[in-house]
């Protein structure tokens, strides 16, 4: 009786150890998976708009097998603070900047060394795959129609709401051919953005996941859907083709429009309050003086 109990106890202890090991393994797997999942999300949100893995160059270089081109320590340092590396006069980094037409990779907030390493691990792992999940955003390559341009304009001006609820471009940006009053002046003029982003592919990719801190914070949770991205790209292609006017004439137009509008409003006021009290004495005296001169 007594012995049996002891055996039971022993069995229990062995079982517990097994359980503990199983749980440990599970947590490690989960956490590793979660860690690589976090890196993938990080890549999707921050890197994908300029980089592919095996999908060719966008604004930034294709990152496939990047570890073979440059050593890991340099890469870790660069990911954490690209500006610092550039300022230090690193030739390789300066060459990259030239290739990217002057664009500097933004430093990401919260980019620790551990995260940079994880990102590099992810890139290594993805580079080994036949087809990485980051070869580039897959958006239709059908030719743009005038209808696309028009819808893009409507989206830009906010007449057509964005399906995920993002704010219209005009709130912060301006562009050519959106009307005399123009758009916001808070953010850059987007008239030539198509050229700046070197064409359709890059721009489409960028718009699918805007990576600058301001745009990201606005569109992270309410991303543009592929159709909207296409329409907007079509619109930006159109604004580039329309030979943009000299910005100073646009400013003059704006001032003239403002003056004209003011005069119109004053005219309406004058009509509405036509019966208002006007000076009595001065008019009386002046009209008499005029009469005497005649």
């Amino acid at each position: 009786m007594m012995r049996k109990k002891i055996l039971l106890l022993k069995n229990n202890r062995r079982n517990s150890a097994k359980w503990f090991l199983a749980m440990l393994m599970f947590f490690i797997i989960i956490s590793v998976a979660a860690y690589s999942q976090e890196s993938a999300d990080l890549f999707r949100q921050n890197c994908q708009s300029c980089h592919t893995i095996g999908g060719g160059k966008l604004t930034g270089p294709d990152l496939k097998n990047v570890a073979q081109r440059k050593d890991r320590a340099w890469l870790t340092k660069f990911i954490q603070d690209p500006r610092a590396v550039l300022d230090a006069g690193d030739q390789y980094a300066l060459d990259l900047q030239r290739e990217a037409r002057g664009a500097v990779m933004p430093a990401l907030p919260g980019m620790t060394k551990a995260r940079a390493e994880a990102l590099l691990d992810l890139i290594d792992a993805e580079s080994k795959l036949e087809k990485s999940q980051f070869v580039g955003v897959q958006i239709s390559e059908r030719p743009f129609t005038p209808r696309d341009v028009e819808i893009g304009r409507q989206i830009f001006k906010g007449y057509v709401k964005l399906s995920n609820g993002g704010p219209p471009c005009i709130a912060c940006h301006t562009a050519h051919s959106i009307g005399g009053l123009g758009g916001g002046t808070l953010a850059p003029d987007l008239t030539t953005v198509f050229e700046r982003y070197e064409g359709r592919k890059t721009l489409v990719t960028w718009l699918s996941a805007p990576a600058t801190p301001t745009m990201q914070s606005v569109f992270k949770k309410q991303a543009l859907n592929p159709e909207e991205v296409l329409s907007l790209t079509a619109f930006f292609q159109y604004t580039l083709q329309r030979n943009p006017e000299d910005p100073s004439t646009a400013r003059l137009n704006f001032i003239l429009l403002g003056l004209g509008g003011t005069l119109l409003v004053l005219g309406v006021f004058d009509v509405v309050w036509n019966k208002r009290f006007r000076s009595v004495r001065r008019i009386l005296v002046q009209s008499m003086k005029l009469g005497e001169k005649q």
Binding site: R278, S279, V280, L284, V285
Partner: protein, 496 residues
């Protein structure tokens, strides 16, 4: 019958010599302050002339008073909706230029001028900005300018005079003017009170004096646009509006208001009237030609027992009724009917009445002698220098009847007195004339007495004001006593 008492006034225009003593008395007591320099609670205008502010009588411009619309009367300057739409700009507000920019002189430049080849002068400076100004207008700018092209010819009362009548008025040897002294009329249906969005204006229950509460006034200035007589003024320094207070502190101590007291020509009469407050709305809605009679019918006979008992019931003090029976205003307005309200067509029912002026005798120069052009001693009133229509526009809402009646009676009294004292007119002629003018010899004597031989006490029959009773109506007198007397004088200030 809702009997109330009202301190009322009569100005006898035939006696006014245009000396402006009243204006100065008032200015010295009440408006010699910063922000009030341009105000003239009492002013004396020359008629024909444009007055102060310029052309105040033209309500097409100033939009004061009431207008009859769809069977009821409404304020011309404002309505409930327009209070909102015009909140940032009142389209009927006169500017300071329509009054005048008050000024003084830089006497320093005169007294301390260095020796030089030119006469030193004291240049005028604005009392508002303190900067040098060119004086272009004043409160009496057209004083005595009966025939002036700018002012007299633009008198709004000339509006329905024929071309011929207008030319007569300005023709050589017919050129004429008379004086028109004005204070607040303390109206029965005051448009200033009706227009105030803050409820700062009120008409005192016991004596009908219209006042602006300086604590409640928020400076909306609606009263300034709404008063057709332009007798409320905005004080730009305190941010409050002000008006004639009929010197109520003087009245409460048994003294006549300063302008009355100082009047050189003794043209001013003051007394209490009893009126029926229930009929005010009905009377204010009457058509123009009935207004003068209707307004007169509001005034009740203080000797009528029914009126007396109703008055007593309504809390009018016995002594006030007693003084109402002696009131010179009652005699002029109600018994003799020779005093008329100014511009009754504004429908505010003014309680200041004017005895219309007889024009001066018309004379012609033949060689070295000046002769009267009329055959009779006093010229025919239809032939008077001031066209009747002009006086009718001022005192009869455009209708001559009441003015003719008042002038005829005055002429008859004069003729009668000429017959009595000089005797170069037959008494029978004089009596016939009195008869035609609806006047008896007793009445003529009474008119003569009160017009020519009146003493201080005849002119100003000031009732005991009974402030204590008025206070009792509003609050506990013991409580009131603890709140007045020695204390702090609070100056009017902008804001709440």
């Amino acid at each position: 019958m809702n009997v109330r008492s009202q301190i009322s006034m009569v100005f006898h225009l035939d006696k006014c010599i245009g000396c402006h003593t009243c204006s100065i008395a008032c200015k010295n007591i009440w408006t010699d302050r910063k922000g009030a320099e341009y105000m003239w609670w009492n002013n004396v205008e020359t008629k024909p002339g444009t007055g102060f502010p310029t052309q105040w009588e033209d309500q097409e411009k100033y939009r004061g008073g009431w207008e009859k619309k769809n069977g009821s009367i409404n304020l011309k300057s404002i309505s409930k909706t327009r209070t909102i739409t015009d909140i940032f700009h009142n389209p009927s507000m006169p500017s300071m230029d329509d009054y005048y920019e008050p000024w003084t002189y830089k006497y320093d430049e005169l007294f301390n001028a260095p020796e030089g080849s030119d006469q030193p002068t004291a240049r005028p400076i604005s009392l508002v900005t303190g900067e040098y100004i060119n004086v272009e207008a004043g409160p009496n700018w057209d004083d005595d300018l009966g025939g002036s092209r700018v002012y007299a010819e633009n008198d709004p009362n000339l509006k329905n005079l024929s071309e011929e009548q207008q030319q007569q008025l300005f023709a050589i040897e017919r050129l004429v003017m008379f004086y028109f002294p004005r204070i607040c009329n303390h109206c029965l249906n005051p448009s200033c009170v009706a227009s105030c969005p803050s409820g700062a204006l009120y008409k005192r229950g016991e004596d009908g004096i219209v006042l602006i509460d300086q604590k409640r006034c928020r400076g909306w200035r609606q009263c300034i646009a709404a008063c057709p007589y332009k007798k409320t003024f905005y004080n730009w320094s305190t941010g409050k509006s002000e008006k004639c207070i009929l010197c109520f502190p003087r009245l409460e101590t048994g003294q006549a208001p300063a302008c009355f007291h100082s009047c050189v020509g003794r043209i001013r009469y003051l007394g209490v009237l009893l009126y029926d407050a229930d009929r005010i709305e009905e009377v204010a809605n009457k058509p123009n030609d009935e207004l003068v009679d209707a307004h007169r019918s509001l005034i009740l006979n203080p000797n009528d027992p029914a009126v007396i008992s109703a008055a007593l019931q309504n809390g009018v003090h016995e002594s006030v009724i007693e003084f109402a029976q002696k009131s010179p205003v009652y005699k002029f307005v109600k018994e003799w009917k020779i005093a008329l309200p100014p511009h009754i067509e504004f429908r505010t029912l003014p309680m200041l009445y004017y005895v219309p002026p007889m024009s001066p005798v018309m004379a012609q120069q033949n060689d070295d002698t000046v002769q009267s052009v009329s055959d009779s001693f006093f010229h025919d009133i239809e032939q008077s220098r001031v066209p009747l229509q002009f006086l009718a526009n001022l005192f009869g809402a455009g209708h001559q009847g009441k003015v003719v009646y008042a002038l005829k009676k005055q002429k008859a009294v004069r003729t009668y007195r000429r017959a009595v004292t000089v005797g170069d007119i037959e008494m029978s002629v004089a009596e016939k004339m009195l008869n035609e003018a609806d006047c008896t010899t007793q009445e003529a004597e009474a008119i003569y007495q009160l017009t020519s031989l009146c003493t201080f006490d005849d002119r100003f029959v000031i009732p005991p004001m009974h402030r204590e009773e008025a206070i009792e109506m509003m609050k506990d007198p013991h409580e009131h006593r603890s709140e007045v007397g020695f204390g702090f004088v609070e100056k009017p200030e902008r804001g709440l």
